[in-house]
C-alpha cells in the first residue's frame, strides 16, 4: 500500500514536470515565432480582401497552365522513377541483413540519412544555380531526398522480413543475390510498391512548389501572379494545384490499399483497376514525352555542381551566431505550427471519424475541410498568409499549422475509427455519457498513436520551416536563398551545416521518442 502511494506520487510529479517542460517549450516557441494574436486580428481584413480578390478565379491562359501542370507531374514522376532505381541497391546495402559487411552498411546508412535530411527545395536551389532554371533542376532537387527517403523505407522493410523463407532458400544451397531475389524480394514487394506510390504522391506535391525557386512547374507561375497582385489568376492556379493533388492522393491511396491487402487486380474491381492502371501509364508516358530528361544537360551541369561545392569551402563561420539564432526561430516556428495544428486537428479528427460522428453531413464536411488543408502545399498557404499578415515567421507558422492540421486530422480520425470497439461498448454499458466514453475508452487507446503522429509531424514541420523563408515567411530559409543569390557559397555552407545538423538531430530525437510512446 505504502509503495503504491509513493509510486503514484512519483508518477504525479513526473507528469507535472513533463507538462511544465511542455508549456515552457510552447511559450518559448511562440515567442521565437513572433506569434501575436493582434497581428492576426489586424491581418484579418487583409486576408478577407485577398479572398475577395481571388474570386472568381480567372483561368486566363488555360493551355499554358495545363502544360505547366503536366510538367509538374512529369517532374514528380521522373524523380520517383530514377529515385526507385537508385534506392533499391542503396536500400539493400543499408539494411543489416542484406548488407555485405559492416563498413558498407554504416556508409550506406550515413549516405541515406544525409540525403534524407536535405530539404527538397534547398536541393533544388543548389541545382538551379548549377543547371539554370527549369525542370531538370527540379527533378534533381526532388531526387536526392527521394532516394534518401525510399532507401530508408526499403532498408526498414528488408530488416523486418520473416527469416523463415531466407533460411529455406539458403538451406537449398543458394547464396547472395539469389537469396535476395527468391526470399527477400517476394516478401518486400508489396511494401516497396506502397512506398513507391507514397513517394510519387509526395514528389508530385513537392513539385508544385519547386517553381518558387525557379526549378520548373506550376509554382513559378503562381509566384509570379501573386507577386504582381493578380490574385484572381493566382487562385485559378491554386484550384488546379488542389485538383491535381486531390486526384493523385485518392489514386495513390486506392492503389496502396489494393496492393497491401492483395485485392488489386484480382478482385471484382478488375476492370476498374486495369483502366486505372492504363490511365496511370498514359499519364506517365505523356509526361515523359513532355519533359524528356536530357542526359547531356545533366552531364553538362556536373562541373558546375563541383564549382558550387568547392565554392563552399572553407565554410564561413563568422555569422554563425546570427545564423543559429535564425535556426532557433525556425525550430520555434516548427514547434508552434505543430502545436496549433494539434489544436485544430483534435476537433477535425473527432468530427471526421465515422465511429463517433453520427451525422453524415458534419462527417463529410469536416472530411473535406481536412482534405483541403492536406492538399494545399504549405508554401502556397504561406504565400497567401504573407499577403495577409505580412512577411515574417507568423505567416509561416499559420501555413504550417493549417497544412499539417489536415494531416493530423486525417491521422487522428483513422486512429479513432480503428480503436477496439469492445471496451467502448463496455464503457457505454456502464451508463457513461458520450464525452466520458471518448475520454475513458477511446482516448487511452489512441493517445500513444496521437503522440507518435504529433512527433512525426513535428519532425516534418521543423524540416519544412527551414523553407518558409523562400517566400518570406520567416526562418533561416531567407538567409539561405540570399546567400546563394549573392554567390556567398561559404556562408551557404555554414547555413547548410546548421540546417542539416538540426534536421538530423530532430529526426533522431523524434524517432527515439516515437518508439518510447508506442511501447
Amino acid at each position: 500500500m505504502c509503495s503504491g502511494i509513493t509510486a503514484f506520487n512519483i508518477k504525479g510529479i513526473r507528469t507535472a514536470l513533463l507538462w511544465a517542460v511542455f508549456c515552457i517549450i510552447i511559450a518559448f516557441s511562440f515567442r521565437e515565432a513572433h506569434l501575436d494574436i493582434r497581428t492576426l486580428a489586424d491581418g484579418l481584413p487583409y486576408a478577407a480582401a485577398l479572398l475577395r480578390d481571388m474570386f472568381p478565379p480567372n483561368f486566363y491562359a488555360l493551355e499554358k497552365i495545363l502544360l505547366l501542370a503536366a510538367e509538374t507531374i512529369a517532374m514528380g514522376l521522373w524523380a520517383t522513377i530514377i529515385g526507385i532505381a537508385f534506392s533499391i541497391p542503396l536500400g539493400l546495402i543499408s539494411a543489416k541483413n542484406t548488407s555485405p559487411n559492416v563498413f558498407v552498411y554504416t556508409g550506406g546508412k550515413l549516405l541515406v540519412n544525409g540525403m534524407r535530411a536535405i530539404p527538397d527545395l534547398v536541393c533544388a536551389l543548389i541545382f538551379v544555380t548549377s543547371f539554370g532554371m527549369g525542370p531538370v533542376a527540379g527533378i534533381l532537387g526532388l531526387l536526392i531526398p527521394a532516394i534518401g527517403t525510399l532507401a530508408k523505407f526499403y532498408a526498414e522493410a528488408i530488416e523486418s522480413i520473416d527469416t523463415g523463407p531466407v533460411e529455406a532458400v539458403r538451406a537449398a544451397g543458394s547464396h547472395g543475390l539469389s537469396i535476395i531475389r527468391h526470399a527477400v524480394l517476394p516478401q518486400v514487394f508489396p511494401l516497396f510498391m506502397g512506398y513507391n506510390l507514397y513517394m510519387l504522391d509526395h514528389n508530385i506535391r513537392a513539385a508544385m512548389t519547386l517553381g518558387l525557386v525557379g526549378a520548373g512547374g506550376l509554382g513559378f507561375e503562381l509566384f509570379r501572379q501573386m507577386r504582381s497582385f493578380h490574385y484572381h489568376k493566382a487562385s485559378a492556379i491554386l484550384v488546379i494545384v488542389f485538383l491535381i493533388i486531390t486526384v493523385i492522393d485518392r489514386l495513390s491511396s486506392y492503389l496502396r490499399n489494393g496492393i497491401t491487402d492483395g485485392t488489386f487486380l484480382n478482385s471484382r474491381g478488375r476492370l476498374k483497376d486495369w483502366s486505372l492502371l492504363s490511365v496511370f501509364c498514359l499519364i506517365t508516358g505523356l509526361s515523359i514525352f513532355l519533359v524528356p530528361v536530357s542526359l547531356r544537360e545533366i552531364v553538362a551541369g556536373i562541373p558546375r555542381i563541383r564549382d558550387f561545392l568547392s565554392g563552399m569551402f572553407p565554410p564561413d563561420f563568422s555569422p554563425i551566431f546570427t545564423d543559429m539564432k535564425l535556426m532557433l526561430e525556425t525550430v520555434g516556428m516548427g514547434i508552434s505550427g505543430t502545436f496549433i495544428a494539434m489544436l485544430i486537428a483534435v476537433p477535425l479528427g473527432m468530427l471526421s471519424a465515422k465511429s463517433i460522428t453520427r451525422s453524415p453531413f458534419i462527417y463529410n464536411i469536416t472530411k473535406e475541410i481536412t482534405n483541403f488543408f492536406r492538399a494545399m502545399p504549405e508554401l502556397m498557404f504561406a504565400l497567401i498568409f504573407v499577403a495577409a499578415v505580412g512577411l515574417g515567421p507568423f505567416a509561416g507558422v499559420l501555413a504550417l499549422a493549417l497544412h499539417t492540421a489536415g494531416f493530423l486530422g486525417k491521422f487522428y480520425a483513422e486512429a479513432i475509427e480503428n480503436v477496439d470497439p469492445k471496451p467502448v461498448e463496455a464503457t457505454e454499458a456502464t451508463g457513461a455519457s458520450f464525452l466520458q466514453i471518448i475520454r475513458h475508452a477511446i482516448f487511452p487507446q489512441v493517445s500513444p498513436l496521437f503522440h507518435s503522429y504529433n512527433l512525426y509531424i513535428l519532425d516534418r514541420n521543423i524540416r519544412a520551416s527551414t523553407l518558409m523563408g523562400i517566400v518570406g515567411a520567416g526562418g533561416i530559409g531567407f538567409e539561405l536563398v540570399m546567400s546563394m543569390k549573392l554567390f556567398d557559397y561559404r556562408h551557404t555552407a555554414t547555413l547548410m551545416i546548421i540546417i542539416l545538423t538540426t534536421v538530423m538531430l530532430v529526426d533522431w530525437a523524434s524517432s527515439y521518442l516515437r518508439n518510447k510512446v508506442v511501447a
Partner: protein
C-alpha cells in the same frame, strides 16, 4: 426484477428472437444456455439496450426500458453491470483505471461530470475501486496495466468494473469461455459470492453444462430465439439437452 415479455427481433430478415419471455426475480441467479446462434447474446444486449427489439417489452424493477430516449437508456444501463467473454477492458490502462470507469455513469451531474470528462476521479471513487478490487481478489494488481494480466485476472478486473457501478443486475455473456476450467470455476464462484454477499441478481450465458449444474439452481434454455426450457437445474435431463442443442427448427418445445 427483470421482465422480458414477448420480444421479437429480426436481423436482415432473419428472426433471431421470437416472442421471447423471461422473468427473473430479485436476488436470483440464472444460467442461460442454448446452441450457437440461438439468440443468447442478442437477448442480453436487448436487456442492456444495445439491441432494440422490434416488438415486446423489457422492464427492470417494473419500469419499461425506453429504447428511444438516450438519457433514460443511460440511466437504465447504470443499474446493469455487464461482463463479457473477451473482458472488453482498455488494455493499455491500469486495472484501477478500468475499474474506476465503472463509476462514470454515476458521475453524471455538475462538477462530477466535468471532472470525470476531463479525466479525473475523486479519492472516494479511488478507495471504492480498491475495495472492489479487494473483493474480487486482485488488489495487488491495481496499478498494473491490463495487458500484463492473465485472462482470469482480466475477468476479475472486468467484474470489478461492473461492481463499481453498484448494479442491481449483473449480466454476463460467456464469462468463462476464454478461461481454463479451473479459473472458470473460480470466476463462477465469484459470481455466486456477489449474488449472496451483495444481493445482486445474476444472469449469465454459459456453455458448459457441468459448470451450470455445479453453480446454478435455475437454468433457462434458448432455442431458435425463444425460451424452450426454464426451470430447476435438477429437472434438466439429458433429453432436454439433446433437444436444446439439436438444430432442428420444426420440433415442438419439449418442456416447461
Amino acid at each position: 426484477m427483470l421482465c422480458v415479455e414477448g420480444i421479437n427481433k429480426r436481423f436482415n430478415g432473419r428472426q433471431v428472437l421470437s416472442n421471447l419471455n423471461l422473468r427473473v426475480g430479485s436476488g436470483e441467479t440464472v444460467a442461460l444456455i442454448g446452441s450457437s446462434g440461438s439468440g443468447k447474446t442478442t437477448l442480453i444486449r436487448t436487456i442492456n439496450g444495445f439491441v432494440v427489439p422490434d416488438s415486446g417489452r423489457v422492464a427492470i424493477q417494473g419500469k419499461d426500458i425506453d429504447y428511444r430516449n438516450r438519457e433514460a437508456l443511460r440511466q437504465t444501463r447504470k443499474r446493469i453491470g455487464m461482463v463479457y467473454q473477451l473482458f472488453n477492458l482498455v488494455e493499455r490502462a491500469s486495472a484501477l483505471d478500468n475499474v474506476m470507469s465503472g463509476a462514470l455513469g454515476r458521475m453524471d451531474r455538475g462538477i462530477h461530470l466535468l471532472v470525470s470528462t476531463v479525466g479525473f476521479f475523486q479519492k472516494e471513487d479511488r478507495d471504492k475501486a480498491m475495495d472492489v478490487l479487494r473483493f474480487v481478489g486482485i488488489e495487488d494488481k491495481a496499478n498494473e496495466r491490463v495487458d500484463r494480466l492473465s485472462g482470469g485476472q482480466k475477468q476479475r478486473v472486468a467484474i470489478a468494473r461492473a461492481l463499481m457501478q453498484e448494479p442491481e443486475l449483473l449480466l454476463a455473456d460467456e464469462p468463462v469461455a476464454n478461461l481454463d476450467p479451473k479459473t472458470g470455476r473460480k470466476i463462477l464462484e465469484l459470481f455466486l459470492k456477489i449474488n449472496v454477499g451483495k444481493g445482486i441478481t445474476v444472469i449469465t450465458v454459459l456453455h458448459h453444462i457441468e459448470a451450470v449444474r455445479d453453480h446454478f439452481r435455475r437454468v433457462a434454455a434458448i432455442k431458435d430465439g425463444t425460451v424452450c426450457f426454464d426451470g430447476k437445474v435438477d429437472e434438466l435431463t439429458g433429453d432436454h439437452i439433446d433437444y436444446i442443442y439439436k438444430s432442428d427448427r420444426n420440433l415442438e418445445c419439449a418442456a416447461a
